[in-house]
């Protein structure tokens, strides 16, 4: 029997090892053991989360595509494919390459589906910038994203960045990518047709990312050999060529199935393609293009070398495919074929090194993890507003919030990303959501990522609902109809019941919010074990969402446009300060309840704004989020750098001034319109039982709010724009 130290080092439990022996009916070979260990890991097999992920709704306004590497929706003749994935741990170690390979991986998921990648987004979390290592991480991650994405020619059109102590020691890097193709051109991630060749295409294989399996090698590696870095180096140039070659290959019509070699490389791609097709597969590792000498079978099977894919091709067309890859200076070689015995058989140097039922590999165990509400939470949720003193100087509070890195302007980041290449970006970064035109149609696509993890910490169910609601609201403010969701669920150690309680409640929040808003969850990814010695990260269920504009010219932006436009607020401001940035930055507290969320009201707000933009009544629309109404108004005034403009605002009486200005009540959207359209919008609001309050007018050089705030927009802009510059 294999020594427990060995399989434990590989991450397998005693029970799992027993199960493997039962399945195999013998002792597994080292290669087999390695293959099981990765396939059954949380990374590939989702043993701890799968049960919960099944609850996500799969139906929405558009026909949805769910089930393989990435999901999507069908809009007319187009398939829009998108997915988000984490690269947290590699980025914490080597931020540039970690982020770069994260972008590379998610984009490969998109074009292996047959879609041309048209946009990327990302959702990032770091510890406070006051710590030098966090600055180093931010700089490195942004550098990695620009390095990879810019070179590929896929515009990075949006994203979000937050800073919080809980991410010190464990940053989050979630990358999202979107692709488009004709719906008939979608490719499948499966192997079919006994006898058909399996081809390896792309870059060569080295010993990248096999660190976790080094236990298998302890007896072979000579003493003193350099420890291998687990870091993979991204090669965007090769990936760019791989995109072109792959799309060219798919256009031949000879491809039956294709899968990216991402996590667990050849193991994962071969086992899952075979399993998805209900067939077996035999591969010969002697034919795999290698970059290093003397590689062991398990090293080749585990390698996470980047920019590689596995393809199942119609027999007789191998040469054609090979030639296409040769044109792009890439490998394209047959390494195996489809068999009828439903086993994955791996040969190397004349020996069979693995022979496993694909089903056993691909369908790993499912665990029901215990969950328990953390004891401290009730205490944290208590917040007596009477103990929070009102500010004496509201101007200063506003300026402090604008300078808070989570709220500050992110141009330093997104100006390093090519966000215009492919000439589709109609609304550039800096508004609520990016809007892209879909060439060849009149339609547009809007995309955003959102999650306030502080809310999720205070109330995971509601926090996750808010993430969904806010993403949808951002799309609506851009003129789009929210259409579908991807997610990246970042949590701590799932084996600890309090962490798992957060996971479970966040999932249920997403499930219920998506049902109510009629949005399918078409793809996603789970990242557990995000902890530092100080504890887990805040629960962070990042939501990526896309929306559709029937007429891309009817998009809307958040900036105030014309002097004299009327400003009003749809939705109601409540006396809530729990979990707000104001409470944190000004009063140094993370406490209270997450803001209340009524999904019916949320729907009504979104409906009114979507319709009013479509009818051309609205000149600007902006969601109120972190920092509340005052910050949102300031953003409306200053975010169009070439056309900054002030506003004069009165407040609706009835609640504490700090709550009115900086509270983060949900389901609120600031809109502006020409005077003559005001009553039309009010009518729409009344029809939908929505609170609608006139706030003031656009104009002047200052932002004036009641008699509390009066600051030159120029000064607001200075403060807001200079907070993040590294």
């Amino acid at each position: 029997m294999v020594k427990p130290e060995v399989y434990k080092e590989l991450g397998l439990t005693d029970q799992e090892y027993q199960k493997i022996e039962t399945i195999m009916d013998r002792e597994p070979s080292p290669t087999e053991l390695a293959m099981f260990s990765v396939e059954w890991s949380e990374h590939c097999g989702y043993p701890r989360s799968r049960k919960w992920l099944k609850l996500f709704p799969q139906e929405g306004k558009y026909p949805s595509l769910v089930g393989e590497d990435s999901g999507g929706i069908i809009v007319d003749d187009l398939a829009i494919v998108f997915k988000m994935e984490s690269h947290n741990h590699p980025s914490q170690v080597e931020p540039k390459q970690g982020a770069a390979t994260g972008v590379g991986g998610i984009i490969r998921d998109i074009f292996t589906a047959g879609a041309k990648p048209i946009a990327s987004l990302n959702s990032l979390r770091f510890g406070p910038l006051t710590e030098p290592y966090n600055k180093f991480l931010l700089r490195g991650v942004v550098d990695g994203i620009q390095f990879y994405g810019n070179c590929l020619g896929v515009p990075t059109v949006g994203g979000e960045i937050y800073f919080d102590e809980s991410y010190s020691g464990n940053c989050l890097v979630n990358a999202m990518s979107i692709g488009v193709c004709h719906k008939d051109q979608l490719a499948r991630a499966k192997a079919v047709g006994v006898g058909n060749p399996i081809m390896y295409v792309g870059s060569s294989t080295g010993r990248d990312g096999i660190g976790g399996c080094s236990v298998l090698a302890s007896h072979e590696f000579s003493e003193g050999e350099e420890k291998r870095p687990t870091v993979q180096i991204g090669d965007p140039f090769t990936e760019k060529c791989l995109i072109e070659a792959t799309l060219e290959m798919l256009a031949t019509g000879h491809v039956l199935g294709i899968k990216d070699m991402g996590a667990a490389g050849l193991t994962c791609s071969s086992a899952e393609m075979a399993d998805a097709g209900g067939v077996g597969m035999e591969i010969n590792l002697d034919d795999v293009p290698l970059r290093e000498q003397g590689m062991e079978a398990y090293e080749i099977m585990m390698s996470e070398s980047q920019e590689r894919m596995l393809v199942c091709v119609k027999a007789g067309h191998e040469k054609e495919i090979e030639d296409i890859f040769a044109k792009w200076d890439l490998h394209g070689v047959v390494i195996g074929y489809v068999t009828d015995d439903k086993n994955l058989r791996v040969k190397y140097q004349g020996k069979v090194v693995a022979d496993i039922k694909t089903e056993a590999l691909a369908k790993g165990p499912v665990y029901d993890m215990p969950a328990e509400k953390p004891a401290y939470l009730d205490e944290v949720n208590k917040l007596d507003l009477a103990t929070i003193p009102l500010p004496t100087n509201y101007n200063e509070v506003l300026l402090s919030l604008l300078a808070s890195p989570s709220l500050a302007n992110k141009a330093w980041v997104y100006e390093q990303y090519d966000h215009m290449v492919q000439t589709n970006t109609v609304v550039l970064p800096g508004s609520d959501a990016a809007v892209l035109r879909l060439k060849g149609t009149t339609k547009g696509l809007a995309a955003t990522t959102d999650c306030n993890s502080r809310y999720c910490y205070l109330n995971p169910y509601r926090g996750a609902q808010i993430a969904v609601a806010e993403a949808a609201r951002n799309l609506v403010c851009s003129g789009a109809d929210p259409a579908a969701v991807t997610d990246c669920l970042n949590f701590g150690n799932p084996e600890k019941p309090d962490r798992f309680w957060y996971f479970k409640n966040c999932v249920m929040g997403i499930v219920d919010a998506c049902r109510e808003l009629y949005l399918p969850v078409v793809s996603g990814n789970v990242s557990f074990y995000n902890e530092s010695p100080k504890g887990p990260i805040n629960p962070t269920p990042s939501i990526g969402m896309i929306g559709i504009l029937n007429d891309v010219n009817k998009h809307c932006t958040q900036y105030f446009k014309d002097e004299g436009d009327i400003i009003f607020l749809l939705g109601e401001s409540k006396e809530e300060l729990g979990g707000s940035e104001y409470l944190k930055v000004i009063h140094g507290q993370v406490a209270g309840e997450a803001p209340a969320l009524g999904l019916k009201v949320e729907k009504a707000v979104q409906k009114v704004v979507y319709e009013a933009i479509g009818l051309g009544y609205i000149n600007a629309a902006h969601d109120c989020s972190e920092g509340g109404l005052a910050v949102a108004l300031a953003e409306c005034c200053m975010s169009d750098q070439n056309n900054m403009i002030g506003a004069k605002i009165t407040l609706v009486p009835g609640i504490r001034a700090d709550a009115a200005l900086f509270g983060e009540s949900q389901s609120r959207i600031i809109v502006t319109c020409k005077k003559e359209n005001l009553c039309k919008i009010e009518e729409l609001a009344i029809e939908n039982n929505l609170v609608c309050n006139e706030l003031g007018v656009v104009g002047g050089d200052n932002l004036e709010i009641a008699n509390l705030i009066n600051l030159p927009v120029e000064q607001l802009s200075q403060t807001w724009r200079s907070a993040i510059k590294l």
Partner: protein, 226 residues
């Protein structure tokens, strides 16, 4: 009249340029793979932006040795119009078709944003439809757009009125705020900003379209003359 868009491995603005010629200018256009060696059919070549060969070593340094480049040089020497945008500009510099070299941006970051350019001369086939001194807004997107030329070279450029565009607010450290230049014969333009990204109103500005229109006008007049 026929345009050709040269495609190197790693070019990534090739389809954007193609789109503008095809859909906005409505002129014939073809992609030309970098292994092509005959360019007799074309009237204007576009060397697009991107990261040819991953910008390994130096931007444009490897593309400069692609098989097509001999033909591009021949084409240009016969007076054909060549416009190199961003990485295309870098390729033209490396190939010696335009003077100078590119360094990294002074703050070492990639910069993507709209910038203002001043049109320094309208006496080129590429800028004739602008007004001299006009300020136009065209996006940049590059890491290495810090144009370098020695004093003597700069004096030459000035003397021959070869500087076509300058930045009004230099984003990258370029010598003399240079954003775009032509060769002495004025048939080769290299520029860092991307006119193809602002040739349609839908994209928030169309100042770039005038470059394409200038080219079309010039080619039309040439064909009338000949």
């Amino acid at each position: 009249m026929k345009f050709g868009v040269v495609v190197f491995p790693g070019s990534n603005c090739d389809q954007d340029c193609f789109h503008v010629v095809d859909k906005v200018l409505k002129q014939p256009v073809e992609f030309i793979w970098h292994k092509t060696t005959k360019l007799d059919d074309y009237d204007c070549l576009i060397i697009p932006g991107g990261f040819s060969y991953g910008d390994s070593l130096r931007c444009g340094a490897i593309a400069r040795f692609s098989p097509i480049m001999e033909a591009v040089i021949g084409f240009a020497n016969k007076g054909g119009l060549v416009i190199g945008i961003c990485n295309g500009f870098q390729v033209l510099l490396e190939a010696g078709l335009l003077p100078g070299a590119m360094l990294r941006n002074k703050d070492l970051h990639f910069i993507c944003k709209f910038v203002d350019l001043k049109v320094e001369t309208t006496e080129t086939p590429f800028s004739s439809q602008y007004k001299k001194g006009q300020v136009v807004s065209i996006p940049i997107a590059h890491n290495e757009g810090n144009y370098y030329i020695d004093d003597q070279g700069l004096a030459e450029l000035k003397k021959n009125n070869q500087i076509v565009f300058t930045y009004t607010n230099n984003p990258n450290g370029a010598v003399a705020d240079i954003a775009g230049i032509v060769n002495k014969n004025r048939n080769i333009l290299g520029m860092m900003p991307h006119p193809e990204r602002c040739s349609e109103d839908a994209l928030g500005g169309s100042d770039g379209r005038i470059i394409w229109e200038s080219i079309v006008k010039w080619l039309n007049q040439k064909s009338i003359k000949s």
